[in-house]
């Protein structure tokens, strides 16, 4: 259970990171480019989500083992996002829409274009 929660948090984090990459940003917003400052904000938010995923890992395992599990989940999450971007960009858009709600809540002033 904690594992799934951690994976969802990690996917959320990587979604934020992926959006800051231009080619993937265009997938969502057409031709526009992301302002530099917003990219930084999104990256920070992404890192935050990734860091948050540490908590369920450490909760379910011990600190040391939890860290290893976290890193393993980072590998898996990055792989899933990559596969998604390659073969199922629709899922990526869907994921971003869901994550978008959270983003608006947490980073209300963010300019995306």
């Amino acid at each position: 259970m904690m594992l799934i929660l951690a994976l969802i948090l990690i996917l959320t984090g990587f979604l934020h990171m992926a959006v800051t990459i231009n080619s993937h940003f265009r997938l969502l917003y057409g031709r526009q480019t992301l302002p530099h400052s917003s990219a930084r904000m999104l990256q920070a938010a992404g890192l935050g989500w990734l860091a948050l995923a540490l908590w369920p890992c450490i909760n379910a395992w011990s600190v040391q083992v939890g860290l290893v599990v976290w890193v393993g989940l980072l590998h898996l999450g990055a792989l899933l996002i990559t596969a998604c971007l390659t073969w199922k960009p629709d899922w990526f858009r869907l994921g971003w829409r869901y994550v978008g709600q959270l983003r608006r809540l947490l980073l209300p002033g963010l300019q995306l274009s």
Binding site: V65, V68, V71, L79, T82, T86
Partner: protein, 582 residues
């Protein structure tokens, strides 16, 4: 300046890895499979597949030991758990020369206590051994070769990171259908996404093999700084401090750890259940034999299940092994241990509870603290590499990372060929690399599948059965190499990958046909070890099949075509005969 650095790193990356890349692929694949060593062995011993999983396997095991060896000086019980579905029993008799156990002497059905006549198999252990000391050559040489390969792998990893231009921009990018670019992407995905794993596994593997490489350090010091030290000092009166190795860990740990002291003198797993080295310390300690002289006759009833409950509540983890010193005597000691661990710095031994003959808790041994930063570091590396901390979930994560690593190595090897296809076609070096690529990548996968087939198809009772399995493995690999010598272009890949896909894909059919029980029964019983093995084989077949379809669809990468790949693909492959006929 920056460009020159990058260029020199590219050169280093290319050539340092190329000379060992085929070995690296074999090490990575067999090493990845070794995360599931005991699970693979379970699959390879279908005689044990019908065993059911009762709540009270310990009671049955003790009853059985009472019948088999009531006068023994020590019992060892490996309980079924997440990773194994049988109970393993072993014991030593008083006065007997201490022998190192190589796994349990007897496997019984956990529910009925019936002895199971398991077939001999090289099992997952062969793959495990192969991944760090190869096979058929002196063990030291094998270790040195693998050590050198890991060193070069580390060089390749670091130089690969430096030479990569846009590590963050390309982080999630995969561009299929673009020939060289796709191969580069795949190589980078395999490498970058799991980079922490690769660095960890390569570096720790190197450290584990370091003593064979630093040959001037005065002999084999694989034990390293003694993280297990503090524990051995605190044993009770009847335990033998010189044998911390068999102090009840899960089965696979015991196999490996027992082998350490006389590492250089014996063959690994191919010579039966035990080997005959008397333990030097034990020999010098005659008093250890005289403690057996007072059997008490009436044995107080010990409630093993109460002890297990207590241990499980205390640890929040299952009990994996029970060791009884002086069973049936007043000073008997019951030692319960678990393979699950809290930390990585604590060396190889897990948590233990010691009970006396009345079922009273005497001692609660936590995981030992590391003796220093060095010992802690060594322990972390070792425990990480050997996945001793890992429950099944974590093992799957490691497995995925290992697959990514294998992918990185394989695509790296193919990339070398793809990049040079235009200029160097027909040159000796190019042809050699192409041949070895095919034999090392596709050939190894076929050989592994063939190894599993051999396990089920060879007669269950056969002289030197394990060596036959291994012979089949290498025989198939050799065949693949011979084939690759003559046909290492695309057709060769298509053929070998198809064979691999067929062998892997049919394993879920082979399994129920050659096992005592079918898959439906396994599902009812919840034998997920076996079901997941079949599932992974099926996935493997699927991946190979996709590769075959892909290879048949795109044009051969070495054809110098300015047009997009798929335009030229069909004329070359299928339409050509028709073009000639009219």
């Amino acid at each position: 300046m920056k460009e020159t650095l990058r260029q020199s790193m590219t050169w280093l990356h290319t050539w340092s890895s190329l000379i060992v890349i085929w070995l690296l692929f074999a090490v990575f694949v067999t090493g990845t499979l070794s995360f599931f060593r005991t699970e693979i062995t379970h699959w390879m011993q279908p005689e044990g597949h019908g065993a059911s999983q009762p709540q009270q396997a310990a009671t049955t095991a003790i009853q059985r030991l009472q019948q088999l060896a009531p006068d023994a000086s020590r019992w060892d019980i490996q309980l079924p758990g997440e990773r194994s579905r049988l109970t393993g029993l072993s014991w030593s008799n008083p006065g007997e020369v201490m022998e190192r156990r190589r796994g349990p002497m007897l496997s019984i059905d956990p529910a009925t206590g019936e002895t199971l006549d398991l077939r001999e198999t090289a099992g997952g252990n062969f793959l495990y051994r192969f991944h760090f000391e190869l096979y058929g050559i002196p063990r030291e040489l094998g270790r040195i070769l693998v050590g050198i390969a890991s060193m070069l792998m580390l060089v390749a990893l670091v130089s690969g990171v430096i030479m990569h231009r846009k590590i963050f921009t390309d982080f999630f990018s995969f561009r299929p259908g673009k020939k060289t670019a796709s191969w580069i992407d795949a190589h980078v995905i395999g490498g970058v996404l799991a980079l922490p794993f690769h660095l960890m596994i390569t570096f720790s593997g190197l450290i584990l093999l370091a003593s064979t490489l630093l040959f001037w350090n005065g002999g084999d010091q694989r034990n390293g700084p003694p993280p297990a030290g503090p524990q051995t000092a605190s044993h009770g009166p009847n335990t033998t401090p010189e044998r911390p190795s068999s102090r009840g860990e899960p089965r696979d740990e015991q196999v490996e750890r027992g082998a350490r002291p006389q590492w250089n003198n014996e063959r690994p797993d191919h010579e039966g259940a035990r080997s005959e080295h008397p333990h030097p310390l034990r020999e010098k300690n005659p008093s250890a034999r005289h403690t057996h002289i007072t059997p008490t006759g009436d044995q107080p009833a010990v409630d093993i299940n109460a002890m297990i409950r207590q241990a499980q509540t205390l640890w929040d983890a299952p009990v994996n092994a029970i060791t009884v010193e002086q069973p049936n005597q007043t000073d008997a000691r019951w030692q319960l241990s678990t393979g699950s661990r809290e930390g990585l710095t604590s060396g190889r031994n897990g948590r233990q509870l010691i009970f006396d003959n009345q079922g009273q808790l005497l001692e609660n041994r936590a995981e030992p603290e590391a003796t220093g930063a060095l010992a802690a570091t060594y322990s972390v590396l070792r425990v990480l590499h050997e996945a001793r901390f890992a429950d099944t979930t974590v093992r799957w994560l490691l497995f995925v990372s290992g697959i990514l690593g294998s992918l990185m190595v394989a695509t790296g090897a193919i990339l070398w060929v793809v990049k040079r296809s235009r200029q160097q076609l027909g040159q000796l070096g190019y042809e050699l690399v192409s041949t070895l690529n095919l034999a090392a990548i596709a050939g190894l996968l076929i050989a592994i599948a063939g190894y599993f087939w051999a396990n089920r198809l060879l007669p269950a009772v056969l002289e030197n059965r394990e060596s036959w399995e291994i012979r089949v493995f290498f025989g198939i690999w050799l065949l693949s190499l011979l084939h690759a010598l003559f046909q290492h272009q695309r057709q060769g890949w298509v053929l070998q990958l198809s064979v691999g896909a067929a062998l892997f894909g049919l394993i879920p059919l082979l399994d129920p046909l050659t096992s005592r029980t079918g898959l439906w029964f396994a599902l009812q019983q919840g034998d997920w070890i076996r079901l997941l093995f079949d599932l992974v084989c099926l996935l493997m077949a699927l991946v190979l099949l996709v590769a075959v379809v892909y290879l048949r669809k795109v044009s051969a990468p070495r054809r110098p075509t300015p047009e997009p790949a798929n335009v030229r693909a069909r004329p070359i492959q299928e339409v050509k005969p028709q073009e000639i006929t009219p």
